[in-house]
């Protein structure tokens, strides 16, 4: 279950707290933003937008929705920035906002999307939809889409985007052990989807 199981994709974007000059630099930047400095706001945006957008795209799978989610995340973050107390890194707080906004958008688009629940994942494992769509990659993508949100978020953040359990736990506000358990369950569900293909 370690991170070494997964060859991380192009997550060579640094965790932005360092890019922004450390926690003290971060606090100074936040203070400038709260003073109404638009250049500082743009600096904050530039420091974090790539990671936020990447996470947004992984969660939505759609360019337009990812941009909408990214924009809404920053709008909400700027409007609530005064409430940020610095208990965690700004990036951690920002990803928390991203997930919250994503959850709202997910509800918004629920009617428009094919929702795959646990039963559907089980159906995939039994081979039901396999005849209709035999492509493994598509099956896996559908299975990941169909994971319950808490498992999907954990899987996407850890195995797809390369966040550490510590980072994910900070973002989700759960214990690291909970995070590991969720990832274990998520991977177990996905293995069920893979199993019929591995027998061939």
């Amino acid at each position: 279950m370690s991170r070494s199981h997964v060859t991380l994709p192009d997550t060579n974007v640094p965790f932005p707290s360092a890019a922004a000059g450390g926690r003290s630099g971060e606090q100074a930047l936040i203070a400038r933003v709260l003073d109404g400095d638009r250049i500082a706001a743009r600096e904050l945006y530039d420091a974090h937008v790539t990671r936020v957008f990447r996470l947004a795209f992984r969660l939505t799978g759609d360019d337009e929705r990812a941009r909408e989610l990214t924009q809404d995340t920053f709008i909400r973050a700027f409007s609530q920035l005064a409430r940020f107390r610095g208990d965690s890194a700004l990036a951690t707080w920002l990803y928390r906002v991203t997930l919250s906004v994503a959850s709202n958008l997910r509800r918004k688009y629920r009617r428009l999307e094919r929702e795959t629940d646990l039963t559907a994942v089980a159906d995939l494992a039994t081979g039901g939809p396999r005849e209709a769509d035999p492509d493994l990659r598509d099956q896996m993508a559908a299975a990941i889409d169909g994971l319950p949100e808490i498992y999907r978020t954990t899987f996407v953040m850890h195995d797809v985007e390369g966040y550490t359990h510590s980072e994910i736990a900070g973002v989700l506000g759960v214990a690291e052990g909970t995070c590991k358990s969720r990832l274990f369950i998520a991977r177990g569900m996905l293995r069920k989807v893979l199993a019929p293909f591995m027998k061939e």
């Binding site: 709008i75 509800r107 896996m140």
Partner: protein, 206 residues
Amino acid sequence: MQDDRFEQPLQDAARAYHEPPELDAPTRDAMWEQIDARRAHGVSSRAWWAHPWVGIAATLIIGIGIGRFAPFDRGAPATPATTTVASANTASPLPALYEPTTSQYLGQTAALLVSLPAETHGGRADAQFISRATNLLLTTRLLLDSPAARDPKLRSLLDDLEPVLAQIVRLQAGENTTDLDLINQAMEQRDVMPRLRTAAADLSAD
């Protein structure tokens, strides 16, 4: 529990899952412009009723409702001899029972229409906004079927608002800006907002 056979396919799946495109500078700048503009206009996640215009619009429209309908109910309509809007006083009286609902409805509808540009992004509106529009559409249809619609001015307004609200409700499934354009066109062609302002001005002259 671990099975190495699954690791490579899982890695592949993870790598391929919703692989993000490169965030190029134009896209980054375009998103920032949207964010900066929305911040400048004070559009945030705060509750819709916290926006200043809601109070203004609600006050305005409730004033219209009270000003228009209260005299009828008293059976002694104000009859300024010089007014140019005397036609309003030829209307059937609005039953007192419907006054609060009508006033509330007019205020909420005005607030919704005023907020339409800010609440729609890429031709879509969020679920809360759509829910408000749906409730107002239902109220519109109930009022149209009620004795309140005996007032010709109110009926005319309800007749015009009904298709506008119906189109707003459709924005929940909108994939482009066409529906929004149609709404704006309908509002312009029917002079919905100017008529509300004119009505307010007429009433203030009574």
